[in-house]
Structure formats: structure tokens, C-alpha cells
């Protein structure tokens, strides 16, 4: 089972700042273990995908991401989900503060 995620989202100066922490080993090929890394990250704002990201093994273990979305308002629902190369997935949702 995927470990916890943690997210904060706030709106200021016409932008929504999203910061999200993910638990993931992000194992690279160099480690001698089976490759295991997040491949896709999706950010949704009120159910609509606003960021579709593809990332690689070059990202650190337990990564933190922050996104700056144009516009937005207090109470908006932000959802961030990830999908890794083994098909494991996790997501977190929060209301913009």
C-alpha cells in the first residue's frame, strides 16, 4: 500500500499555490533493485485536470512538488494523484485555504 501524502493549497495574488509531499521510494536502476518510480502526476482543480506531468527516475525519494495555478478561489478542490511504473497509485484532495 502506498504511504501517506500531504498537501497544502492557498490562494494569493491571483494564483493558487499547491505544495504536495509524496511517500515513494523512487528507486533507480543504479540501486540494483527493481526500478520503481512515479511516472505520472495529475493535478485537478475542481475536477478538471490542470497539470499532467510525466516525471522520471531523476526525481528524489519522497518528493515534494509545488505548482502555481493561475486564478482559483478559496474552497476550490485540488486533487493531486500519482501513478508509478508498477501501476500503484495514490491521491490526496484538499480545499484551497
Amino acid at each position: 500500500m502506498a504511504g501517506p501524502m500531504k498537501m497544502r493549497a492557498s490562494v494569493a495574488g491571483g494564483f493558487t499555490e499547491v505544495r504536495v509531499l509524496m511517500t515513494h521510494p523512487m528507486t533507480t536502476a543504479q540501486s540494483g533493485q527493481a526500478l520503481h518510480f512515479i511516472q505520472n502526476i495529475t493535478v485537478k482543480q475542481n475536477g478538471k485536470a490542470v497539470v499532467e506531468a510525466e516525471i522520471s527516475q531523476a526525481v528524489s525519494r519522497n518528493p515534494v512538488f509545488s505548482f502555481r495555478l493561475k486564478g482559483g478561489a478559496k474552497g476550490d478542490k485540488i486533487e493531486v494523484s500519482w501513478l508509478d511504473n508498477k501501476g500503484e497509485t495514490n491521491k490526496i484532495e484538499t480545499a484551497v485555504a
Binding site: P4, M5, K6, L21, T23, Q33, S60, N62
Partner: protein, 265 residues
Amino acid sequence: MNRFFATLLVLGLVASPVLAQDTKKEIQKYQQMIADGSPVELFELEGEALWKKPQGPQNVSLEKCDLGQGAGVVKGAYARLPRYFKDADRVMDLETRLLHCMTTLQGRSREEATKRVFGNENQPSEMEYLSAYVASQSRGVKLAAGNSHPKEKEAYELGKALFFHRAGGWDMSCASCHGEENKRIRMQELPVLSKREFARPIMATWPAYRVSNSQFKTMQWRINDCFRQMRYPEPKFASDATIALSTFLTVTAAGEPYRGPGTKR
């Protein structure tokens, strides 16, 4: 690249006192950057789940564990450790007390509960997760380790003596590295831990997450590893010597608001 830059900074330090100030500022900037978005919060969350998870032959959680503020009170408990516990008739630090609860409440054997006290990056230990959670519940609370019971005073004195006691293959004491101001190893400052002003910020940020190896480290580990670096015999987990050192350091840092678990290089 970072190492190259750090080397330049170190060379600069030797050359000029003005640069030394810049170096300190740069190190502070670096520390702020790594603290921003630290995975330490993920360890706190995992620790909370473990705290509430029924385990052991009794199949109970640790939620009734008395960390010194009453059964099940986690808020502010870490800031008041180490302290004397009447039920065990000994001074205990956080990990020792957790171990006590695992054996008494959950009915686990000491052997099983201490099988893997220090984890690694692939698999952190139960102690590490739990320490992160319990310590996080003391943020903002002033450090106030026990210093009134005769056994607490004894632990403080023993810790102080150990801090300055030179031994081992290299004839070192804790004070060999932590006894002089303005010393550091590479990027790491060496605080004079026997002095209040240096002990305070350090004790207020341990336990801590290490970005360089992606691991969460407890105070028991910190002391264990200092012993290794000094080429001492390995101290036993939750032994009187380790608790005494923690007591000495935390009492020295008394009054500092806790703001950990920290993030270290």
C-alpha cells in the same frame, strides 16, 4: 557540483573572515531550503498510524502509553523528556519509554521490539516513525526535561561526566568535537553542546530527517553514531549511558521552544 561549491566556500573561509560570515549565511540559506517541503511530515503521518495500530500478543495500540503526561497524552510529552518514571523506577527518554510501552502494554518481548531500532532509507524503523509523530506533537512547547528527582539529577551528572570523559581507541570525548566554538566538519557546524546557547537550537530540532541519506534519525541513533565515530564500544539501545547523555543535553537546552522534527543536511 554542490560539493565543489562547498569546497570553494571552505577555502574562502581560511582566506578571509569576511567570507566566513558569507559562508555561514550560505549554510543557513541551504538549511532553509532543505527544510522547506521536508518529507519529515510524511514520517509524522506514518508514526501516527503506527501509534494507533494494534500490535503484539495483546493486540493493542500504543494509544494508552503514558509518556509522562498521563496515559495516552502525546501533546507536549516529548518536550518534557527525558524524565523519571515511577512505574519503571528509572529515567527514560522517548525511545526507552516507547519500548517500555511496547513490552508492558502490547506484551511484546524486548528482543522482538528492539530487533530493528535503526532503519535504513528503504525501510525506516518503527522507532523512527513513532519518534517523528510523538516529537511533532510538542512543537511550540518549551523543552523541560526532568531535573528535580534525585534520579534525574543523577542522570544529568552522569551525562555531563560522559560528555567530557575521554576514552576509546582514539582517546576522544564528546567535547573533543563539541567543545570549541567556530569549528565544523565540512558544511556541518560543531555546536558546543555543553553550552546553553548552542545546545538549545540543536535539541529543539532533534529527532530529524537527513536529506543526504533520506533517513529519519532518532536521538538514540545520534548518540549511538557519535560513539561509533569516537571508536567507543557500541552503546546498548535505551541504556543508562545514552539516556544520561540525552538528559544532560536536554536539560542544558531547557526553555527552548521545540520546533522539530528537524531537517538536516
